[in-house]
């Protein structure tokens, strides 16, 4: 894990002087967030890992020319976003099922996991409630995967990397107002569909 307290700029400066092993610190620092963004876009673990690896390879090759106009985190997020978007469209052209792994979570429904408990904060919930929580997650993610690609990108950068609207705008190379609008629209689309599904079940 990343135990290096140096900032990104210091690591990059060190890298430029020939300490290429310092690049590993950047990999350790950003891999998880970048993977989650790629996975959120592609819903496929292998594709997501591949995208993140390719992004780091590109960054490694171009780091000598990195001028620092933007933060490294913005830059690497931009590379991942672009590669994930390319892979997303390539998969769609190939007719691949984007949510192939969405319903194949690592854990089964009877797995008692802390994060599942977070979904429904009720310590007394039984197996039936657990199943309901897992189904809820699947439904939410199913709707999320149907969102337009640009809305998903903005929401992922906000919720996963917790970027500010300004930083998301820099990453996606668009205006702050556009980011604001995309995130709001994405939330509202999901909320409405989710409410509609709930109302249908009640009937």
């Amino acid at each position: 894990m990343d135990v290096d307290n140096r900032g990104d700029n210091e690591i990059i400066t060190s890298f430029k002087t020939g300490n290429h092993q310092d690049f590993d610190i950047l990999i350790e620092r950003y891999s998880t967030k970048l993977y989650q963004i790629a996975f959120g876009m592609l819903s496929n673990q292998q594709d997501a890992e591949e995208v993140v690896q390719d992004a780091f390879v590109r960054a490694f090759r171009a780091l000598d020319k990195f001028r620092g106009d933007a933060k490294f985190s913005t830059w690497i997020h931009r590379i991942v976003s672009n590669l994930a978007r390319n892979r997303y469209h390539w998969n769609r052209r190939r007719g691949a099922k984007l949510n192939v792994s969405l319903y194949q979570p690592k854990r089964s429904h009877d797995d008692t996991d802390d994060e599942h408990e977070m979904l429904i904060p009720d310590n007394s919930m039984g197996p039936g409630v657990m199943l309901e929580g897992a189904e809820l997650e699947q439904e939410v993610m199913s709707e999320f995967n149907r969102l337009p690609e640009k809305l998903k990108q903005a929401m992922l950068l906000r919720h996963v990397s917790e970027f500010s609207y300004e930083k998301i705008a820099q990453t996606l190379e668009c205006k702050v107002g556009t980011v604001k609008s995309r995130i709001a629209r994405g939330r509202e689309i999901m909320r409405n569909k989710f409410n509609a599904a709930k109302n249908y079940e009640k009937r």
Partner: protein, 297 residues
């Protein structure tokens, strides 16, 4: 409020969708009265709560689908890709390059061995760029204006045009002596000045020029240009005779250059493939005997 087919059911006092979303992200500051409304409005609070639920669910799903050894796997994958790029600069596998090299060597060997075993007689005696007529000669019956020598019927002028034909005004009767018949028989040349010239049988070609001295100089300069040093030329009664040792290729170039310089052949024997003098390999040494005479001799 409607925006992009999204219906938001709220009271007129509720903030707009983007404002509420921005408020949720702490990205915008709202007036105090709007904030107060949100805190006291069940619809707004419900919406914020759903936003929170969506956020938690999204993060939870992504975290759950993050492999345990992700960082190590990505690091290993990155190192592998970087190493692969550095160690294999060629896009083709090594076995492909080996096959390509072997194929090139074998092809090279076959090509040159085939050339080595090819019979010499099959080779073209003159370079390809040299003008050799390959199409059938045009028959012009009753036309005696362009006498001709084809190597098969010496002394007969059937009046067919070839690339070696020479104009009638340059023709004088020629007699090669010995048992050979004259190369050209020009009819109605009873004038004494057109009496046949006596040409020794050893002479390969006779050049004709109004100024034989200039023609000899021209020929010498051409020989120098061709790097032919073994040339011997003698003058007798305004006529020149010479002997040159040169390759067949040089001979072809010599004759072509002489023609371009304005000299005409009395006996347009060459270069024609059927003649022994010019047959064979271009680098074969030959001895070339020539005369330079003036018209009417």
């Amino acid at each position: 409020m409607k925006k992009d087919n999204i219906t938001v059911e709220n009271s007129p006092n509720c903030p707009a969708l983007e404002q509420l979303s921005g408020f949720f992200d702490s990205a915008i500051e709202l007036p105090a009265e709007v904030t107060e409304h949100i805190n006291n409005c069940p619809a707004c609070m419900n919406r914020l709560s759903q936003f929170r639920m969506l956020k938690i669910t999204l993060k939870q799903h992504l975290t759950a689908n993050t492999p345990e050894n992700l960082v190590a796997d990505i690091k290993a994958g990155v190192h592998k890709k970087l190493k692969k790029t550095v160690s294999t600069p060629h896009p083709f596998p090594g076995i492909f390059l080996k096959f390509a090299a072997a194929f090139a060597i074998v092809s090279f060997a076959i090509f040159y061995s085939a050339d080595f075993f090819r019979p010499a007689a099959v080779q073209h005696p003159v370079p390809k760029d040299y003008h050799v007529r390959t199409t059938p000669a045009v028959s012009r019956e009753n036309d005696r204006s362009t006498p001709y020598y084809n190597g098969e019927y010496p002394g007969i002028m059937p009046g067919i045009i070839t690339e070696n034909s020479i104009p009638l005004h340059n023709i004088v009767g020629a007699n090669y002596g010995g048992s050979r018949e004259p190369v050209f028989q020009v009819e109605n040349l009873s004038d004494s000045k057109n009496a046949p010239a006596s040409i020794a049988s050893s002479v390969d070609q006779v050049w004709i020029s109004a100024k034989p001295e200039q023609a000899a100089d021209t020929l010498n300069s051409i020989l120098k240009r061709l790097n032919v040093t073994s040339a011997a030329m003698t003058e007798a009664n305004g006529e020149f005779s010479g002997t040159v040792k040169l390759t067949k290729m040089q001979l072809v170039k010599l004759i072509r250059s002489c023609k371009q310089a304005g000299l005409d052949l009395l006996s347009p024997q060459a270069p024609q493939p059927e003649q022994n003098k010019f047959r064979g390999r271009p680098d074969t040494q030959v001895k070339y005997n020539f005369n330079i005479i003036a018209p009417g001799k």
